[in-house]
Symmetry: C2
Subunit: 105 residues, 2 copies
DNA sequence: CGGGATCCTAATTGATACTG
DNA sequence: CAGTATCAATTAGGATCCCG
């Protein structure tokens, strides 16, 4: 299994990530191209495991799907949004999810 | 989270399944519409955990993506192929996977 | 041959507490 | 506020044995 230069992470890794809690919800929440704070996202998702949630945010960022912007302020202020890659990914994911939930096929 | 009549399994369940070992490989192996025996698939996938592998086959069957055909013979003979639903699913999955591996976007 | 049952180990999650 | 650290509880995976 050779790593490809053109790919941020292998298929299986990305699927693992997708299947974990919060991941899909985070992508869905930012799908409109908007930017949201850590706490906004956590709030909207009724997160109850802050460590798992933080894991997802950083994993998605490392995968190149999320962009993380932190402002040097007190208190801290960090925002997340989908990257171009993230939006492209979401676009390709959507038909699959719609089919699974609606069985429109 | 209400179950929908039209859907064999909720999104999260299917994603969980997809992220587990062998699942994606099984779907990929049968993507051409062919039919293969349990042992053929296991062989092609270099399976080393027969229990996990059997779990995937039955989970995919329960999800309505695989069709299981067993012949009343000794020794037993069981074949698997993608259902119509399974092929439709694979079709919608493919662009996503291709993008992830090739970054053609 | 196909696969269920069991036992054990490794990885994830959930919850709580803590820090810059 | 945005995480990190920690630990108990779940869950997945690997190996083995056995049955129809």
């Amino acid at each position: 299994m050779a790593a490809q230069q053109t790919c941020y992470c292998p298929v299986d890794d990305l699927l693992d990530l997708l299947a974990k809690e919060y991941t899909l919800a985070i992508i869905g929440l930012l799908a409109d191209g908007g930017t949201k704070r850590h706490s906004e996202i956590a709030d909207a998702l009724s997160v109850n495991s802050s460590s798992a949630f933080a894991d997802r945010l950083s994993a998605l960022t490392e995968a190149g799907l999320l962009e993380r912007t932190s402002y040097d302020e007190v208190p801290p202020h960090v925002e997340y949004s989908l990257t171009t890659r993230g939006r492209e990914f979401e676009r390709r994911l959507r038909p699959l999810l719609q089919w699974v939930t609606q069985e429109t096929g």
